[in-house]
């Protein structure tokens, strides 16, 4: 064909501008790139602004109480004296209790779904476990108040009291509402987090490792234990830390079942109070700037701890994807 391939009508000179270095750039590209960069910066800005707002909000309390804030047990809005130790204790204890329940179950689920389950079962069970994460926190709370707490009060706690009552963990009045209920609800809520991240981690393990172990005559479980788990270890720890981060910050469900009494007790039956719960219960009713500031400082502590945990967890999970084949840890 003799038609000349003249592309000049497609190139509109108006649509090009010069960059600093004298290179031609399409103006649309120029604008588009800067616009998206601006919105990407918004993500960083939001995180930074959150940190700044927390520090600013809690400045008065930080000045007033200093380090004593985290070691004092007195929380008295009437006398305007605030110490967060009972809340810190409640948050940490309930989260650790939740991990005790959730870690074995979640790892079991993850190993089941990625290694042992028949293929037709993986999709449906995985879907159901993720639905567990879809149920709103407040619905778990409602269920906790009217289904879990009565069951604990009438069945589980009497049983534990009779059989293990000699331990300090299982003594005292049995309300149903308390540390045990809080731990169970948290465990239910973090199980999908831990199991889905663990599943991703296990999936990232090269299948050559598995096949090698199986080829040497290992049983399926031995293949997992010898070849898969050592490779995935840091990622699994990361998954657990992510779950811990979620447990620490979880608010509604635990507020509704933990009893909301700021006391420190060894008993799992005793009511307790968490950092997130005290903010949820008192923030909108707080009068006086020092009271608000103290609540904001509780929020700041929660923020700092969860951000740090998240950073550690992400680094650990990333590592698994980047390990050399068969590399040791």
């Amino acid at each position: 064909m003799s038609v000349s391939h003249d592309l000049s009508p497609l190139i509109r000179p108006r649509s090009r501008i010069l960059t600093r270095f004298g290179r031609e750039v399409n103006w649309g590209d120029f604008v588009f790139r800067r616009l998206t960069a601006l919105l990407a910066a918004l993500v960083i800005a939001a995180l930074a602004a959150m940190a700044a707002a927390m520090v600013h909000g809690s400045a008065e309390s930080l000045r007033q109480f200093g380090l004593g804030f985290v070691s004092s047990q007195v929380w008295d809005p009437v006398r305007n004296v605030y110490g967060a130790l009972p809340f810190i204790f409640g948050t940490i204890a309930s989260s650790l209790l939740a991990l005790c329940f959730a870690v074995p179950i979640s790892l079991g689920v993850a190993i089941f779904l990625s290694e042992l389950a028949p293929a037709w079962l993986r999709g449906p069970v995985g879907f159901l476990v993720e639905l567990l994460a879809a149920v709103p926190s407040v619905v778990y709370g409602l269920w906790g108040i009217f289904a879990l707490a009565p069951w604990l009060r009438n069945t589980v706690e009497p049983l534990l009291g009779r059989t293990l009552g000699f331990l300090p963990f299982f003594q005292g009045p049995q309300h149903g509402f308390g540390m045990l209920a809080g731990g169970i609800v948290l465990a239910i809520m973090i199980t999908p987090t831990i199991s889905s991240v663990s599943r991703e981690v296990l999936r990232a393990v090269p299948s050559a490792l598995r096949e090698g172990a199986l080829g040497l005559g290992a049983t399926p479980w031995e293949a997992v234990r010898v070849a898969v788990l050592p490779y995935a270890r840091s990622g699994l720890v990361g998954a657990i830390i992510l779950g811990l981060g979620r447990a620490l910050g979880e608010t509604m469900a635990i507020t509704m079942v933990i009893g909301n009494r700021s006391e420190i007790s060894a008993s799992l039956f005793a009511p307790s109070y968490t950092m997130a719960s005290v903010i949820a219960n008192e923030f909108s009713e707080a009068t006086g700037s020092l009271y608000l500031s103290a609540l904001a400082e509780v929020g700041l502590l929660l923020f700092v701890v969860t951000v740090l945990l998240n950073i550690v967890a992400r680094l650990l999970v990333w590592r698994v994807g980047r390990l050399p084949e068969g590399g040791s840890l």
Binding site: S15, A40, L42, A46, G57, G249, F283, N310
Partner: protein, 281 residues
């Protein structure tokens, strides 16, 4: 091997059954929650529930129409403020994100997705409620948008990266400018997946309570526009559940049923959407 074959076989069967037990244990709460919410909530669902305002304590009947509308308003605002910036930030990270700045954005998004929702509530309270001096749907919607932002950003990025480079090369080869390639080819190809991710994020924030407690607050009446305290289903469920009144408990269960249906519907349809387009993921 020191251990005999029979013992190894036994351990294998034992651990495998333990994993099955774990899976069953994990699903028991789900079944129990679904059972309780359905059986207790179904009785409270009637026309009045969807059309009337809550009745004061002592009077039976009434509904939660204001909370339903409030939740829709808040979710709408969250979508308006959360989705466009999230998607465009995700585009940046996917297309130009190899720089240090891009890594920083990605990392911030990851960290932000782990920030407790209650602290987002405090943040928006000091950012908006303190400045405007009153609770409003705007404040609530922005709090939910902040919660959505990291999820939407990361989902968009992940899905854009799945689009084959050959599509981009073909489009560039046809002479399209880069930005149009990104918008018309890359983003459009990834759209069903991004829609799924966005719907999951919407489903999550629709059920959020903690960040609304002191941003949107609650309101026993209709709220006009977006500038007034606004009732929402999750906050109403909370307030009713912790109240001592039998009648309110019934309303709380009914509201929980509606909320759960809404959230599960979003979840399931989001997953079906992706399955029908790209195959099981």
């Amino acid at each position: 091997m020191p251990s005999s074959y029979a013992r190894r076989k036994f351990t294998d069967v034992f651990v495998r059954s333990a994993c099955v037990v774990a899976a069953v244990l994990a699903l028991i709460p789900l079944i129990s929650v679904l059972y309780y919410v359905t059986s207790r909530g179904i009785g409270g669902i009637n026309l009045a529930f969807f059309t009337e305002l809550p009745k004061p304590v002592g009077e039976s009947g009434g509904g939660m129409a204001n909370a339903l509308l409030g939740t829709l308003k808040l979710v709408f605002l969250a979508c308006v403020f959360g989705i466009p910036p999230g998607v465009l930030a995700g585009v940046y990270v996917a297309e130009f994100g190899d720089s240090r700045f891009g890594k920083c954005v990605r990392f911030s998004a990851d960290v932000m997705s782990g920030v407790p929702s209650i602290t987002v509530g405090i943040f928006v309270y000091s950012l908006i409620v303190l400045q405007t001096k009153h609770f409003s749907a705007y404040a609530g919607g922005i709090a939910l948008a902040v919660l959505m932002l990291p999820t939407v950003t990361r989902t968009t990025e992940e899905l854009l990266k799945l689009v084959p480079e050959s599509l981009r090369e073909a489009a560039l080869g046809l002479g399209l400018p880069k930005w149009r390639v990104t918008l018309r080819v890359m983003l459009r190809t990834a759209a069903p997946g991004i829609a799924t991710g966005v719907m999951l994020a919407v489903a999550r924030v629709a059920g959020e309570t903690a960040p609304l407690l002191f941003t949107a607050f609650s309101n026993p009446f209709w709220s006009s526009g977006f500038g007034e305290p606004t009732a929402s289903l999750p906050v109403s469920i909370y307030n009713y559940a912790v109240s001592p009144y039998e009648e309110w408990h019934r309303q709380a269960w009914a509201a929980a049923l509606v909320l759960l249906l809404l959230v599960l519907l979003l979840n399931v349809s989001a997953r079906l959407l992706v399955r029908s387009r790209v195959g099981a993921r």
